[in-house]
Symmetry: C2
Subunit: 273 residues, 2 copies
């Protein structure tokens, strides 16, 4: 099945646009996990078991797994995610083609992620190794959720902000319908604009929760016309909902609330199937 | 010692602007190394022992070390590089601040690289964690050596190509004098322009050798007024100079030729100290 089919199927099955960001910082895990050989994996496993029926995706922030045993932790974590769920390797990769090949091979073959985040600055040939197979998706950075997004992404080129050129190029490269975009929830105006330019493309939207993005605007402007194709990432507000032994249960409760809020806004703005 | 001092000292001591790119692809190593537990490390160690007196830097392409044992391979490789030599962790990193912190910590603390390559698309706060200490350098991508460099880097913003805005911003952020730039050797005109805007900043120049960049133009336009501050990376043409048991010797011979060619051009264009 191609990537868009997989995403649509799991969004409908679990009635959820929620993606949980497994930014599992080893220094912030509940004390109860201290005795495990791989506490990051144990943490992820319990979060996944508690939430796999209410999300459409998990996103692993690769920077949190770059340690002596991190490579295996990613592999083990992915092995407990049900295969119908989308998995996103978030490393903002992209490089000259011979290097990008290696990056894509790691993410898609060694680890078997269904999608990766890619930085567009180096252009088409730096993205190409990530979009060779229609069942794998490259989410290209358009407008990021941080303050620095203003430094270059909004510079005006031929009357339009740079990120619009990124979106238009990404749409042009999208022959296999397996390119998505990243737009931070902290930028609702830009999200609306990107959605208007990227009909049918999935948009990964980080910045809800700890980064204080606007959830209603995210749903209103991020979805396609059927109230789908937005992948709304929430990390810290879910995975660190509790520091106690009940962290997985509290993560589920927090995830249920986010899914419910998202679905209320979907009902408000879209005619759902 | 700050980064610029370290770079100047080793460039003078070894009379060399040459950086060897340890893009050690496990599938391309000499057959003779097949019996070692960590053939990548063994390969790197022998290349380093054969060349450490004739280079100013080694650059490790992180994508080639993202495997189950890659984390240790990087650590072991760095441990055999003499401490006066600059080491560059080339991963094109940069992310929202909380993630970039992790990336910088890995590269500078866990691994102890003296420099890292950083992608500017996400702006100042995505670079900031890499420039906190004056002895560590962030090489910010300006104009890359690949074909895709034309897609966004040369778009015109206020009458100037985007990469010039990157260079000017990088120069503005450079309070601790520890920011460098990356300009591909395949772009001599842009290199000349960047050097004119980035007085005193080191420029990392990939693209010589397999990528067919112009070495004479690289030296002529990449150095500062004293014929220094260019870090000229050569990877495949040196490390794969031979596939036989003599690979380290042949790598040394190739590296000596590159150093010599560089120094001939330095004599031609600069008044050396």
């Amino acid at each position: 099945m191609n990537f868009l089919g997989k995403l649509t199927r799991v969004q409908r099955k679990n009635n959820s646009l929620l993606c949980i960001g497994l930014d599992s910082d080893i220094s912030k895990l509940p004390a109860a996990l201290g005795g495990f050989a791989d506490p990051q994996y144990e943490f992820n496993r319990r979060i996944i078991e508690a939430t796999a029926d209410i999300v459409c995706a998990y996103k692993l922030n690769i920077a949190f797994y770059e340690s002596a045993q991190g490579w295996q932790t990613v592999q083990r974590t992915l092995s407990c995610i049900p295969p119908e769920i989308v998995t996103i390797g978030d490393g903002k990769r992209g490089d000259i083609p011979s290097t990008a090949e290696h990056q894509a091979k790691l993410l898609f073959q060694s680890w078997n992620f269904s999608a990766a985040t890619v930085n567009p600055y180096m252009g088409q040939d730096s993205v190409e190794p990530f979009i060779r197979e229609s069942q794998r998706c490259a989410f290209v950075l358009a407008v990021t959720s941080n303050k620095g997004s203003k430094d270059f992404q909004r510079l005006i080129v031929k009357g339009k902000p740079l990120y619009e050129h990124v979106v238009k190029n990404a749409a042009k490269w999208n022959k296999k319908r397996n390119i998505g975009l990243v737009v931070g929830a902290t930028n609702p105006r830009e999200l609306k604009r990107v959605r208007s330019l990227a009909s049918g493309m999935p948009i990964l939207i980080p910045g809800i929760g700890a980064q204080k993005g606007d959830l209603e605007a995210t749903v209103r402007f991020g979805c396609d016309e059927r109230g789908e194709m937005a992948v709304i990432n929430v990390g810290r507000s879910i995975i660190y909902a509790s520091q106690g032994d009940d962290f997985a249960l509290k993560a589920r409760e927090a995830a249920l609330k986010f899914r419910e809020s998202i679905n209320i806004y979907r009902l408000k703005y879209y005619r759902l199937k």
